[in-house]
Every structure is written in structure tokens, then in C-alpha cells.
Symmetry: C2
Subunit: 137 residues, 2 copies
Amino acid sequence: MPKTVANSKPHQRTRSDHASETAEDYVEAVAEIIAEEGTCRVKHLAARFAVSHVTVNRIVDRLQKAGLLVTQPYQPITLTRKGGRLAAQCRQRHEIVYRFLLSLGIDEATAAIDAEGIEHHVSPATLKKFQELAGME
Amino acid sequence: MPKTVANSKPHQRTRSDHASETAEDYVEAVAEIIAEEGTCRVKHLAARFAVSHVTVNRIVDRLQKAGLLVTQPYQPITLTRKGGRLAAQCRQRHEIVYRFLLSLGIDEATAAIDAEGIEHHVSPATLKKFQELAGME
DNA sequence: ACACAATTGTAGCAATGACTACAATTCTGG
DNA sequence: CCAGAATTGTAGTCATTGCTACAATTGTGT
């Protein structure tokens, strides 16, 4: 079973970690797109991640099998309760990392890019520190 | 051509980014292992990354083709000048991220794990900030 | 209503990184 | 020196994520 939590030892990240990151990125994106556009379609995700619709298709299939989202052929994508919860968690974590970077004096554009990359690699302990230091307690 | 630098827009990390991360992790490991053990062999890398020797084999092949390291069948692995330069860069970046996390009050074990994950996602601007704030100027 | 555009789905390919199983080479102890 | 252990290489498989090309469905405008 893939896990989202940090591994107990360095140098031990595996393929499943990466798959989890993709899942997190996608549910987060679905939630955002629904908030922004009303519905989330394959084309929105393809545009957001700058990949072909085919790639989106396959990942959506996998996430549906994992019970994170629901869709039917040619129909919009919605999150399950489980997917919604994951999306909310990710959004919060993302926000903390982003604001922490801003609090260091990093410009918004750079902070946005770096937060995207960093968010999946921050342990709960470090995230808590970030939250404190960003004044988000 | 894969690049090491941050992308210009969020949500745009591709497969090549991940391949570059692997390259960085491997050249860094080769440098460390040579420093610690005298020579770097496939078995050292397999142990370090907790993967089979086969996985190491294929990645080493790819990195040799990319001109980062050199080896011959059943022989130790050495870095090319290019590989050595990359390893030095990575080592420095890793060190900055690690010490920055320590400077926030994060414990050594957690900082070590998080630095591993974060180092590949820190832009030059953010790295510079980290360096300043960690008192490494 | 119906043709055409847009969207989505399917088939099939490539690269990466993971594995097991087995073959080849190198190293080591008697 | 040479048998067995350790190491490394090779073959073949799978999952993930990327693609192009083509098929199917949906939506739209006249």
C-alpha cells in the first residue's frame, strides 16, 4: 500500500512515493478547478499539468480505482469524500509551505514554484515548524 | 535536454526532471562512497538506495551515456569531470538545505530526511535565502 | 437537424525505475 | 589452484508517465 508519510530512513524513496505525489497533485487540482470553473474536465487537468489528455485519462482511471475521484466516460470529474479530504489536506500543506517561503522574503513567483516542488517532501514535524514560523498558528 | 534548474511555471514538472534528480542523487552518492570507501561499486549504490543491483546497473548505464560517470564491466565506478562538478554542486546544495532546516530547530534525523526530498526543488533564489538564514555566507 | 468543432476515449509505443531469475565474472580461503 | 562465495551483468516482466494517431462522443452554430 503506498504511503504519503515520510520514510523512516534517507535514500529510500520509491516509485510508490511518486505515484502518491501524483495523486495528491491531481486531487488538489480537481478541487481547485471545480472551485474556479464549476466543473472539472479532462481538458482542464491536461492544461493545468501541461500534458496530453491521454496522460490525464490514465491517471484519472487509476485514481478512480483508488477511490479518490469519480467520473464516467465523457463526463466531468468529481472527488469522493476520501478524495476531498486528501485535497483539503494537500491544499493546507501547500498553503503553509507557500506562506513560509513568502515569510522568508522570497518573491511570490518563486515561492509558488518552489512550494509546488517542496510540499511533497516536508515531514509533519517540519511542516509544523513552517506553520509556526509563518505565523499561521 | 534535461535541465536541473527550476521550471518557469508551476505545474510543469516532467519526467525529465525526475530523471535529473536521479542523476544528481547518484553522482552525489558516488562521490560520497568514494570518499568513504575508496572505491564505488554497484553494491554500494544498491545498498545506499535500497534497490536491487539491477536497478543500479541500468541507471549507471544511462549516466555513463550521459557522460557523468565511467565504469567497465565488473569494475568500480568513477565520476567524470562533469559528474564531479555536478556532485559538488549537489553536495553544497544539500548541505545548505540541511543546515537551514537545523537552524529552524528541526531535529537531525528529520532534517536529514527532509533535505533529501527538498533539495531537488529549491530554486537558486530560495537556496540563497536558505544559505543566508542558516548563517553560511 | 446535422455537419463540424471540441472533447474524450483507445491503441500502441518509449523511457524510467522497480523486480526476479539466471548467467558470468571476480575474489578468497584452503 | 580451484571451488564456492560474492559481485556484477543479462533477460524478461511490470507499473507509471509521457507521447502520437486514430476513433468515438458530445456540443454548437447555422
